[in-house]
């Protein structure tokens, strides 16, 4: 029974980590839900934000969260640009073209990161990123809690935005029936570009908090893409609660895997769970 006495730590850490994972996956989920595109450059765009945070921290000593004031518009602009000038045109060519283009964007970014910041592992080391606090006998890194709170806030914001604004409803409508949305007077091209930009805003936030939590390298993008993909497969597409639950499951799978097996097996446990869900309930736990 002794093995269960310290279970508290990996459980709490897993849930909090799940918040970060669902935040990372949120942008991917939006793009897939609205445009039916798996943006394989998503992980790299998240890491772009981590690097922007790093640049502001190392060059100007500016806190990475503050640097989001610049980082968010930059990523929104990149997203809007990508959708309008690259992906939009790629959609007209074929179903696969946007996927290939996104793959190319991913490679470009990874190499650009390496050229600008070398292959060295980087981290956003601020004073609070190293603190931890005590939760009923469990030592929890402060940054994990911060990640979790931010993730909840962002998801609540998105939910209200989609529910209450015309643009939010238009994004919802266009994702269900693009042609009908068109006939309702919605400029679907612009709505798609905005949805992509919105996904990038969330990627920007995710990138900064990711960088505060874990070290990253130019090649980190695809690793987080895979995690984000797992989150979405578990939770079901286009469902915010699903994305959150999916993230928590991924986080728990990782921490419990590390606790019961070893550090190497962490991700393996998470991926095995994803495979099981894909087989048993492919539309995800909350999917339709």
């Amino acid at each position: 029974m002794d093995i269960f006495s310290d279970l508290g730590t990996p459980i709490v850490m897993g849930i909090l980590l799940g918040g970060l994972y669902s935040l990372i996956a949120l942008g991917l989920s939006i793009v897939f839900g609205v445009m039916k595109l798996i943006n394989v450059a998503h992980g790299d765009l998240v890491i772009l934000s981590s690097y922007i945070g790093f640049a502001f921290l190392s060059r100007f000593g500016v806190d990475p969260i503050i640097s989001l004031v610049i980082g968010i518009p930059v990523l929104f602009g990149i997203g809007y640009f990508l959708q309008t000038f690259l992906l939009n045109r790629a959609f007209k060519i074929s179903m696969e073209a946007p996927l290939i283009i996104a793959f190319g964007v991913s490679i470009v970014f990874q190499n650009a990161f390496q050229m600008a910041w070398s292959p060295m592992s980087r981290g956003l080391t601020t004073s609070y990123a190293l603190n931890s606090f005590n939760l009923g006998g469990i030592h929890v890194p402060l940054i994990y809690l911060l990640d979790f709170v931010v993730a909840i806030l962002v998801m609540l914001f998105l939910r209200e935005f989609l529910r209450r604004t015309y643009l939010g409803k238009a994004i919802n409508a266009a994702s269900q029936d693009r042609g009908a949305a068109h006939l309702m007077g919605i400029n679907t091209n612009r709505v798609y570009a905005f949805a992509f930009g919105l996904a990038m805003i969330f990627a920007a936030i995710a990138g900064v908090f990711l960088g505060l939590t874990f070290p990253f390298t130019p090649a980190s993008g695809p690793s987080y893409l895979i995690i984000a993909f797992g989150v979405i497969v578990l939770g079901g597409m286009g469902n915010m609660l699903g994305t959150f639950i999916g993230g928590v499951i991924m986080g728990l799978a990782q921490t419990m895997g590390g606790y019961f097996l070893n550090a190497t097996a962490q991700m393996l446990v998470a991926y095995v769970i994803v495979l099981i869900i894909m087989t048993v309930r492919p539309q995800g736990i909350f999917g339709r």
Partner: protein, 239 residues
Amino acid sequence: MPEEPILKVNNIDVYYSTLQALWDISFTVNKGEIVAIIGSNGSGKSTLLNTISGILHPSRGKIEFEGKEISRKDPFQIVSLGICQVPEGGRTFPNMTVLDNLIIGSYNSRARSLRDQNIKTVYEHFPRLEERKNQLAKTLSGGERQMLAISRGLMSNPKLMLFDEMSLGLSPIMVNELYKALREIRSRGITAILVEQNVRRSLKEADRAYIIEAGHIVLSGRAQELRGEEKVKKAYFGG
């Protein structure tokens, strides 16, 4: 009526990439009229509506709405000008509530300020929609979805409404209800183009009609006269 027609279609050809679907189509619609466009499956009726809505563009000829040329405009611009299509099958947004479907109908800028007023009007036409306002559209029956589609169109504050096969697959009772609503809509000053396979009923409700066959207009005239026409009787009433 010495007034200019609200819609003028002049000699348009329409292609689906290299496949021609419409040949030299011309017709007019006057303000306040109900005009029926009748033809069998594949005759080009939906193509014609989609061209007016801006989803397709004519390769030749032009379309004028209230005197302004709209042949090359995007669908969302055409909705802003006051033309709204109720597409075949309604195509309501299945995972949005009845109310949200109505709200999204008022997306264009002209319609937003009149939204709450229009919602009240819609509920007067179709009280059943008010009962179901928080239900997801996919839980409605076929007839209710069609009511919702028509209402959603009304929310855009249209001057001209295009109905693509409004009565398709619905019971006679439901069809009656829909046509009753159509008459109420007309009495509010809205012009309507009906595309129908149900020849008998549409000739009863329309003022004028055009018969379309394989992408060509083959006959036109006042609905009453067409009902008596030998050709129409033979082709569509099996007479």
